[in-house]
Amino acid sequence: MAQHTLEVIVENSPGVLARVAGLFSRRAYNIERLSVGPTSNPETSKMEIVVNLDGHALEQVIAQLDKLINVLSIKEILPHSAVPTVHDTQPDYQN
């Protein structure tokens, strides 16, 4: 699996780091590295998130991140490979 870096511009609102970190943990995605810094606009911050995910899983992370109201934009710094056609992300439930 290749490392991918996401550049995420977020609103500088309280709790926004918890929202992003919480999303990764509840969807069971690991964060390899995370840094947060200012942007030229005092109302926004820039997060750089490095993840070890590919294809479908990476697309899901981006799509879910994008749903956070305080996330303004997401840019991927490395290109990623094509989407596989079969996805079985669900565990086979026994409950």
Binding site: G15, H56, Q60, K67, V83
Partner: protein, 578 residues
């Protein structure tokens, strides 16, 4: 602009947002808000438990299509809202919850009745706010209603520190809301619609896989037109019951774990799933790697994160579902005018499955009451305009199976979270939203014992709902699994609820009429009696056979191909040409 305290600004904002009713319980931190509520035009219904307020807001929202509102104090009041808000998130219901918070200076000190409800609800709320400045209240409320009700609907929580309710502010309600980080899509892209139409025109075994989004988007008329245009079979998930009439010949019923043989098989054998506001939930797909393996997928949804989440979409159509279907109809018409696939063989196969394996049940040999029979009669006698709210368990599945749903927003249940205790408060909220419609809660004896206290609220506030308790003296659905998968070792599923409590007496004690019925020959008369009482809530204790099971069934984690129509009985596939 006028000067007022934060509490008045809150209530004025709720009025400006068009709120006509809210459900809640006061307490210390939210107390300032209850003063302006006292003189507001908004009807506040004082519930008996905050969980009831949350599910009532959901029930109200599900029948009206408007935002449901609940309100609670800090700490335990707020945490009691957690279950209904998680429930509303799973079923995409527009709900706004207002909670009081300890004063801003006390936040973080483990103050009396402090709970970080914003943090607690962060994993599932569509969005949430913690407000410490009264000037932020109107904007937060306007945004909360906007976020809850647009795109994929969901719950939004606004937590307000007590001092923000008490301090003075200039009130001005925003005339519009625009959020840079939230722009749900309206009309779909033209090219996606063309691609979808092309795929449909090439398919010889298409099926419409319709989910709850069709109801949320008010797309039932467009759906009917689209389905008739193509003439392909339709399946309606647990959340979509009523989106397409059950009486329509193209409707194969509900797919999934307890779906009909024809609906489950249609998905399994299709060459194209036309997925409309559905999300490939594990209860529908069974073992995902074996689900509809030969099908291409068109996935139309308003939530981009649903596309490809569980199943790859060959064509994704992002947008409001009503607008999407409306856009698809003319484009498909044109495509079909060029090439019209012959669906006769496919329809014939599905219709013969539907005829060979209708939903059914046996009347118990000992003359005791069949739960399915009770539910079927409830549906027949009260008619297709009636609103039904179910709890969670066997009775829920039977209600979905044996009531014929003809209209959207007439079937309320907790599909995603599976929340026992949903039915009574949801029915209460539904009745408040649709006071002229008959509302029946079809509840389990287990579920009923979780939230029946709201019948007091109903009795005192002229909310005459009707409750049918399907009393099998068990946590029936769990017992069914113990029968099937744990050698009949009934660990902790016996409720003894034909002995205690006495449900009719409990109902009477709460200001309702209590009835009971345990013989098949009395079912119709009992239902008619309940239907004739409209000035009080009515509770009927239907004392049913405890051994009835829900069939068909796809065991959890197995393939839909292994659907069973009764214990150790698979459909006779050899006699079907598939």
């Amino acid at each position: 602009m006028s000067q007022m305290n934060g509490a008045s600004a809150l209530v004025a904002s709720l009025e400006a947002a068009g709120v006509d009713v809210m459900f809640g319980i006061p307490g210390g931190a939210i107390l300032p808000a209850y003063d302006p509520i006292f003189s507001s035009s908004i009807r506040h219904i004082l519930v008996r438990h905050e969980q009831g307020a949350g599910h009532a807001a959901t029930g109200y929202a599900q029948v009206t299509g408007r935002v449901g509102v609940c309100i609670a104090t800090s700490g335990p009041g707020a945490t009691n809202l957690v279950t209904p808000l998680a429930d509303a998130a799973m079923d995409s219901v527009p709900v706004v919850a207002i909670t009081g918070q300890v004063p801003s200076v006390a936040i973080g000190t483990d103050a009396f009745q402090e709970a970080d409800i914003r943090g607690i609800t962060m994993p599932f709320a569509k969005h949430n706010y913690l407000i410490t400045d009264p000037a932020d209240i109107p904007r937060a409320i306007a945004e909360a209603f906007h976020i809850a009700s647009t795109g994929r609907p969901g719950p939004v929580l606004v937590d307000i520190a007590k001092d923000a309710l008490q301090k003075m502010t200039d009130f001005k309600y925003p005339t519009s809301v625009s959020l840079k980080g939230y722009q749900p899509k309206g009309a779909p892209d033209a090219q996606a619609v063309i691609d979808a139409a092309d795929l449909i025109a090439q398919s010889s075994k298409p099926v419409f896989y319709v989910g709850g989004g069709a109801i949320k988007a008010n797309a039932n008329r467009e759906l009917l037109e689209l389905a008739q245009l193509l003439g392909a079979p339709v399946v309606t998930t647990l959340m979509a019951r009523g989106a397409f009439p059950d009486s329509h010949p193209l409707n194969l019923g509900m797919p999934g774990m307890h779906g009909t043989v024809s609906a489950v098989t249609a998905l399994q054998k299709a060459d194209l799933l036309i997925t409309l506001g559905a999300r490939f939930d594990d209860r529908v797909t069974g073992k995902l790697s074996t689900f509809a393996v030969n099908a291409k997928v068109i996935h139309a949804d308003v939530d981009p994160a649903e596309i490809g989440k569980n199943r790859f979409a060959d064509v994704a159509v992002l947008g409001d579902l009503r607008l999407t279907i409306a856009a698809l109809i003319p484009v498909l018409k044109a495509a079909l005018a060029k090439t019209r696939p012959d669906l006769t063989a496919w329809l014939h196969q599905m219709n013969s499955l539907k005829a060979a394996y209708p939903l059914g049940y046996d009347m118990p040999e000992d003359g005791s009451l069949s739960p399915q029979y009770v539910i079927e009669r409830l549906g027949k006698i009260s008619g297709p305009e009636t609103i039904f709210a179910a709890g969670v368990g066997q009775h829920q599945m039977w209600a979905s199976q044996f009531v014929s749903f003809e209209n959207p927003r007439t079937w309320l249940n907790s599909g995603g979270l599976g929340t026992m205790g949903y039915a009574v408060p949801a029915a209460m909220g539904a009745k408040v939203g649709a006071p002229d419609t008959t509302v029946w809660a079809i509840d389990g004896d287990g579920c009923f014992q979780m939230t029946n206290q709201e019948l007091v609220t109903c009795a005192l506030n002229n909310i005459p709902i009707k409750v049918a308790i399907i009393n099998n003296e068990s946590l029936g659905m769990v017992r069914q699994w113990q029968t099937l998968f744990y050698e009949g070792r009934y660990s902790n599923t016996n409720l003894d609820s034909k002995r205690v409590p006495n449900f009719p007496m409990l109902a009477e004690a709460m200001g309702c009429v209590g009835l009971s019925c345990d013989r098949p020959e009395d079912v119709d008369a009992t239902i008619e009696k309940a239907m004739s009482i409209n000035d009080q809530p009515v509770v009927v204790d239907f004392r049913v056979n405890r051994d009835a099971m829900v069939w068909p069934m796809v065991a959890a984690g197995t393939s839909n191909d292994n659907i069973m129509i009764a214990r150790e009985t698979a459909p006779d596939w050899d006699s079907q040409e598939l």
